[in-house]
């Protein structure tokens, strides 16, 4: 096995995704202070999704919040959270840009708080580290105030130590082994970060030829890894690292021909798994080379009894026969070669059949997906938690390239599923809008009928005519027009008296009455003239009020008419709906294409793996048959023909 190098990571998007979740999770878990309350409901919602690992939903909510005025009361934390979420969601470039933007304002006291800036430097350094940019990563990580980080975020501090130590260990110009040692010593003894560092430092020493004490240093790691609790979230990783340490120890012991020690170390490996299979196989080969055939047989027998399709099990039938031949048991070897050939022949047929029926479904059926009550388990970003249980997939699933394509394919499927859900919703929205439109039309008809019942036009005409009369009377100074009701009654009575007087005989009594009428008439006209202003004001005031009411009525009517004529709100919603439907459709097409590419890549990788598996199988078959023929010839030549007596 070869070392992972930071240069790989630039091309390893998936691991950045994983790393991001680690970052976010560690950040969240490492907070020593009790949770603080959200000062903004939108931020509270974002945190709710964020802490459940729902990066996509959290990013959507952050985006919604931004388009509705942003998040208040949390300073730059939302920006930091968004960077972490983008990183988590595999949007590395965007995340890097966010962190850089967050850090671009260098003026002290402006923009980002020191605490946020500190963490942003850490995350940026981590992105750069994972992107295979050691110098930039080193520079960014150096800007982190480690004391502040240790005080506020002990988990991030440990990770910071690890990243810096790894950079120093791999690049002498960035500190070298001494610096890596110093940083490792800052970590707690049982920290998994430290265990990795100790392991790497020990192996570095051994590879440099300084092997003294390496075995004991490695052995000292085992109790730290194997005495953990099952409930520990790192339990699996610790177990895996312990297996790795045991494998390394066994290799070192095998190289020194300490087979008993090696076997003792390997005996504690998990029963199933590529590391234990690999360890046993290497042990068998080394033992055979050292002439320790019984040990080699024991190891091969143990391997042969293991279930599954580990690549280390494939050569076992041939190796066992070969070992029998080496131990001068030609008849048994011949039988073993025959049996191996039959096995490889069967395998060829099986693998060819698997290859022929290869599809997305068959690949998925070759993976056991972890499930819980709510369905298939994914990690925080929707990737399947998968275990291989089909030919070839064990080794393939362990490859970075396959993992990346599988994760990408799964992500695309999730995106496509989300878009399909939205499409369904848009159809519902359509129905909703159509229903609203119908309801509106019904109400509009009712409103029109109500307006008609009001006889609005008649009233408007009467108002106009009345206003014209008043204007004319005012222009002509027509005091009679503005008479009050009482004055009108008096005028009528005076007119009635005048008519009566006109019919009376012209005697003295009538003359007196006519003079009296004239005085009354004069007084009335004087009063009319005197009260003209008051009367006119009394007539014009209600007219003005009526004018205002009529204006308001006209405006309201206009608004109602406009509302009846057009439905702007619904039209706007319908337009948005159409526009979004168009975008949705475009994105679905793009996603479909990406999904097809991803699916093809997935199938191609599995096919290539199966092809390699088949090729190796053919080689073993050929070798078994050659050996079988060779042994049969040898037995014949030696006078011990196959099946005969010696």
């Amino acid at each position: 096995m070869r070392a992972w190098r930071p240069g790989n990571a630039r091309r390893c998007l998936r691991w950045l995704v994983c790393g991001a979740l680690g970052a976010v999770t560690v950040g969240a878990q490492a907070q020593p202070a009790p949770p603080t309350r959200a000062a903004d409901l939108r931020y509270g919602e974002v945190l709710y999704e964020y802490h459940q690992g729902e990066a996509f939903r959290a990013l959507t909510l952050l985006s919604v919040a931004a388009s509705r005025g942003g998040i208040q009361g949390h300073g730059d934390h939302p920006a930091l959270v968004e960077g972490g979420l983008l990183l988590s969601y595999g949007m590395v470039n965007e995340a890097g840009r966010r962190f850089e933007r967050l850090l671009s304002d260098e003026a002290p006291g402006v923009g980002v708080t020191p605490e946020v800036r500190n963490r942003a430097w850490f995350y940026l350094g981590k992105v750069q580290y994972l992107s295979g940019e050691p110098e930039r990563a080193h520079a960014s990580l150096q800007r982190v105030d480690s004391d502040r980080l240790a005080a506020g975020y002990p988990g991030l501090f440990q990770e910071w130590c690890y990243l810096r130590a790894e950079l120093a260990r791999r690049h002498p110009a960035l500190g070298g082994v001494a610096e890596a040692r110093r940083l490792a010593d800052r970590l707690p003894q049982a920290s998994l970060w430290r265990v990795y560092l100790e392991y790497n430092l020990a192996l570095d020493d051994r590879n440099r030829g300084d092997g003294a004490g390496v075995e004991s240093r490695l052995a000292a790691l085992l109790p730290l890894l194997e005495n953990g609790r099952e409930a520990d979230p790192d339990a699996r990783e610790r177990q895996a690292l312990a297996a790795r340490v045991r494998l390394s120890l066994s290799r070192m012991m095998t190289a020194e021909r300490r087979f008993d020690d090696a076997l003792a170390v390997l005996s504690a490996l998990p029963q199933v798994g590529p590391l234990s299979d690999q360890g046993l196989y290497e042990y068998a080969v080394a033992a055979a080379q050292a002439g320790q055939h019984s040990r080699a047989f024991a190891a091969l027998s143990a391997l042969a009894s293991r279930p599954g399709d580990s690549p280390w099990l494939q050569p076992v039938p041939y190796a066992r026969a070969y070992l029998l031949e080496q131990t001068r048991q030609p008849r048994a070897a011949l039988e073993a070669y025959r049996s191996a050939a039959a096995h490889y022949q069967e395998e060829l047929a099986r693998l060819a059949s698997v290859r022929a029926s290869l599809s997305e479904t068959s690949i998925l059926s070759g993976l056991t997906l972890e499930r819980d009550s709510s369905g298939v388990l994914t990690d925080a970003y929707g990737r399947l938690k998968a275990h291989p249980d089909q030919t070839g997939l064990v080794a393939l699933l362990a490859t970075e390239r396959f993992q990346r394509v599988l994760a990408q394919w799964q992500e695309l499927r999730i995106l496509a599923r989300d878009l399909t859900r939205w499409q369904d919703k848009l159809e519902t929205f359509d129905i909703m809008l159509a229903t609203r439109k119908q309801q509106r039309q019904r109400r509009a008809a009712e409103t029109r009928a109500a307006l008609d019942a009001l006889q609005a036009d008649t009233w408007a005409e009467r108002h106009r005519a009345f206003a014209q009369d008043i204007d004319a009377a005012r222009a002509s100074g027509d005091a009679a027009f503005f008479m009050s009701t009482r004055q009108k009654q008096l005028a009528r009575r005076l007119a009635s008296v005048a008519s009566l007087l006109a019919t009376l005989p012209d005697d003295a009594r009538t003359t007196t009455q006519r003079r009296k009428y004239q005085r009354l008439r004069a007084y009335f006209e004087w009063q009319l003239a005197d009260q003209y202003g008051i009367n006119r004001w009394a007539a014009e005031k209600p007219l003005r009020e009526l004018d205002a009411a009529m204006v308001e009525f006209a405006q309201r009517r206009q608004r109602v008419e406009a509302l009846l004529a057009t439905d702007d709100e619904s039209d706007r919603l319908a337009a948005r709906l159409d526009q979004l439907r168009e975008r949705l459709s475009g994105l679905q097409a793009q996603l479909g294409q990406a999904l097809a590419v991803s699916r093809a890549e997935l199938i191609a990788q599995v096919d290539a793996e199966l092809a390699g598996w088949l090729e190796r199988n053919r080689a073993y078959l050929l070798a078994s048959r050659h050996a079988q023929a060779r042994l049969a010839d040898a037995l014949l030549m030696s006078g011990q023909p196959e099946g005969g007596q010696p």
């Binding site: 190098r5 985006s63 590879n207 699996r236 895996a240 362990a398 989300d418 929205f429």
Partner: protein, 180 residues
């Protein structure tokens, strides 16, 4: 030669032995996919934007600001209550009920707020009641209700069901508060 290994900070997605195997892979395997990854990133960016716009449209359509009414739930800090379920009544009708998973409770304990309900309400006085169930102090079943009568105006109304630890008597406390 024995080779060092790296720990990439991340959750354990695969069985751990696979994880280790992955970490020790040869370099350069992924060159040809960089552009695909970028494309996927671009797609994700577009999907997030579209999702946002659809989300906003959905709210505008279903819950106009003038009638919108939302109820959130927070848990601070949950030491005295292991939250199991919440039921929400508005004006006597059950409008929402939720059973909590462990993951959801953890998210609430870390400061998250769940939008338990969103709907529409007319202007005027309304009564909201929240029923909280779980395991309380001394591992005993715990049930508590809180009620709030409030006036819904013409703006969006938001309430918060707040579950807090009351250190004075080591009991959980449930209240409903209105957000401005």
């Amino acid at each position: 030669m024995l080779a060092p290994i790296s720990r990439t900070p991340r959750p354990v997605v695969l069985v751990a032995w696979l994880l280790l195997a992955i970490l020790a892979l040869p370099a350069g395997a992924a060159d040809s996919d960089a552009s695909v990854a970028d494309q996927v990133e671009q797609l994700k960016k577009q999907v997030i934007r579209l999702n946002r716009d659809l989300f906003i449209l959905e709210e505008d359509l279903l819950f106009p600001a003038s009638t919108q009414f939302a109820v959130f739930l927070s848990l601070d800090t949950g030491r005295f209550l292991q939250l199991d379920a919440v039921k929400l009544k508005v004006d006597g009708d059950v409008v929402a009920a939720h059973l909590y998973t462990e993951r959801q409770v953890r998210a609430l304990q870390r400061g998250g707020m769940q939008r338990l309900y969103i709907g529409n309400l007319k202007t005027g006085a309304h009564e909201v009641t929240a029923f909280v169930e779980g395991i309380g102090p001394e591992n005993r079943p715990y049930k508590k209700a809180a009620t709030l009568t409030f006036d819904k105006g013409t703006d969006t109304a938001a309430l918060e069901i707040r579950i807090r630890d009351r250190s004075s008597d080591d009991q959980p406390e449930v209240s409903i508060v209105a957000w401005e």
